[in-house]
């Protein structure tokens, strides 16, 4: 399929745009792509990353229970059952992944039915759950794990999600992963987190409203519309039977990638066993290409899925967003919500597609 290049139409004699404003199809938000001061993809590969000063001997996640964490909420063991390790002077099976309660939770027990007042303001108990999903290896993060282990991570997300969504105080569950100190990780050992909250986050609400409006106006899903375009467009990075990885037309950060199920699905947790394996592959592929292309960048990723508050969100399309930490949001970004990217997603995709 031949894509007409809108840039050609815009080039005027002796004139070059310093940037373009792109509008997000779901939220209506704008970003600036500063093409005039665009950098080459490799310029984003930082030579020096902030190091963690956390040797394995002091790591709280090597033996979470010995480090004062409670019993695992979920645990997977090494498949090779003969492989035993010594813990607290006992020979035990080696674990492969475990989920624990966060020792310093952002939310905890509370009454989610009451709204308190202070003058004109409203507030609630911080009622909810805050869990940590830990893989066994101290060094190997998702980009470097074998596919089986990545699939375990995704399976743990799904299991905990299915368990927590039934709680009356849980209306939204955010699953996320912080890699690197620049991305806000405070513990070196690879881990993901899950926060279950009683309210709908504003960003999710907006994303839902945008999707609903588009559905009403166009009688089809806004994400499906984008996927149809991106599948054949120059921003696709990787695809398998069930998932697509692409660099969005309107990125919130340089090198942002998104993973979508190719079929219209609203709820992450309804994934089949087979689909889960393909998601693990897509996630690993996306992170591996960023790892190689940008030399192990810091990043955050998170899942955007329909709320679990019992309402109908069939118009929504769940997905994963991966945000490499390529810049600091400063006064303009914080004051307006408009990000400035110094690389086009088209260039990002071209660069990442080539990585073997």
């Amino acid at each position: 399929m031949q894509i007409p290049d809108f840039r050609k139409k815009r080039t005027r004699k002796g004139f070059k745009n310093v940037s373009e404003l792109r509008k997000d199809l779901v939220s209506g938000e704008w970003v600036i792509i500063a093409t005039g001061r665009a950098k080459r993809p490799k310029a984003y590969a930082k030579a020096k990353r902030k190091k963690f000063n956390q040797p394995i001997s002091k790591c709280p996640f090597e033996d979470p229970q010995a480090s004062g964490n409670g019993e695992p909420l979920l645990i997977y063991y090494e498949e090779d059952k003969k492989k035993k390790v010594k813990r607290s002077n006992k020979k035990v099976k080696e674990w492969s992944l475990q989920v624990i309660q966060n020792k310093y939770p952002a939310l905890g027990p509370g009454d989610c039915s009451k709204i308190y007042k202070e003058g004109p303001y409203e507030l609630m108990d911080g009622a909810g759950f805050h869990e940590v999903i830990i893989t066994r290896d101290h060094e190997k993060h998702i980009a470097l794990l074998p596919l089986d282990k990545v699939e375990e991570v995704v399976r743990a997300y799904q299991e905990r999600y299915l368990f927590l969504k039934e709680h009356k105080c849980v209306n939204y569950i955010s699953i996320f992963h912080n890699h690197g100190r620049e991305a806000g990780a405070s513990i070196a050992h690879p881990h993901s987190q899950l926060i279950a909250i009683p309210v709908l986050p504003s960003d999710i609400k907006r994303s839902l409203q945008g999707a609903k409006k588009y559905y009403k106006d166009h009688k089809r899903c806004v994400h499906c519309t984008m996927l149809k375009w991106e599948r054949e467009e120059r921003r696709c990075v990787f695809q398998n039977e069930y998932f697509i990885v692409y660099a969005p037309f309107v990125p919130r950060t340089a090198f942002e990638l998104r993973i979508y199920p190719r079929e219209h699905k609203s709820n992450f947790e309804e994934m089949t066993d087979k689909e889960r394996r393909y998601l693990a592959e897509a996630l690993k592929e996306a992170l591996r290409r960023l790892y190689k292309g940008l030399k192990d960048p810091a990043y955050n990723f998170f899942i955007h899925t329909a709320p679990c508050d019992g309402k109908d969100y069939s118009y929504y399309h769940w997905h994963v967003e991966i945000w490499p930490k390529t810049a600091i949001w400063a006064g303009f970004e914080l004051g307006t919500g408009i990000e400035i990217s110094t690389i086009e997603p088209e260039e990002v995709a071209k660069f990442l597609r080539k990585i073997k």
Copy 2:
């Protein structure tokens, strides 16, 4: 005025909340105040800040024109006219502040009337202006400048705003200041920036919608409602005849401060000479207290004011937001828009009020 403490009502036997969820009165957004893992105010004073490696001899803002910048768009001179300096072998008056075009602008010339299409997406030329407001001293930032010089900064903001708002492509003007490398500043020499854009930023649009809705529902300004409460409440940090500085009930970052005109005013640029002097005092006071209390933290500040697109925004109340860089937004914050603060704004205000 005795304020009833909502916390007392919430304390149950043998039970302590780990956090509370607070709802923003304008936007409806939530934040988490993690009272359970609250830190003491002094814990936010970082001993080590990232240093700039920019000696005065290599500073591009010591003599902007010699560094390849164009002629100033606005220049103020030292009042003492006898104070002359040698530049390019000529004796010239020393400048005190100058505004230049950004050498690497995020926006530039372009056609703001055309919307281009790429498949389902829309985009525009990045048409607009990007200027830099530079004060003379290489080291002294706003917290340390004499009041006269701070007033010059605010005057320059206002003059450039009044000039640019008349341009047909300018619908919103963002004025902001980045201090410190952690806050995204790339040049050590103190400077502010101004970006004039053809579209309404999404954050501003939301802020306007929230204010408009409150006005319709309550027949009064939402910001005036908050100010009335904060003037007497425990979150006020400083006030003078025309302005109030307070730590908002729903902060987006720990130690956030806001400066509001006490009277209902929609447009920053309509400030009188007298008001401007009081704003300079409030701005200096806010930044000075953060400087002393947190040992020169990195921060961003920006002005939120009514758009200049010719529509009626009389329900809006302009203000300044100051966001010290006290934490990194990670996967949860980026994926939900919900920030987690580990200090109550009440504590922040108490701490900053005491600073002399």
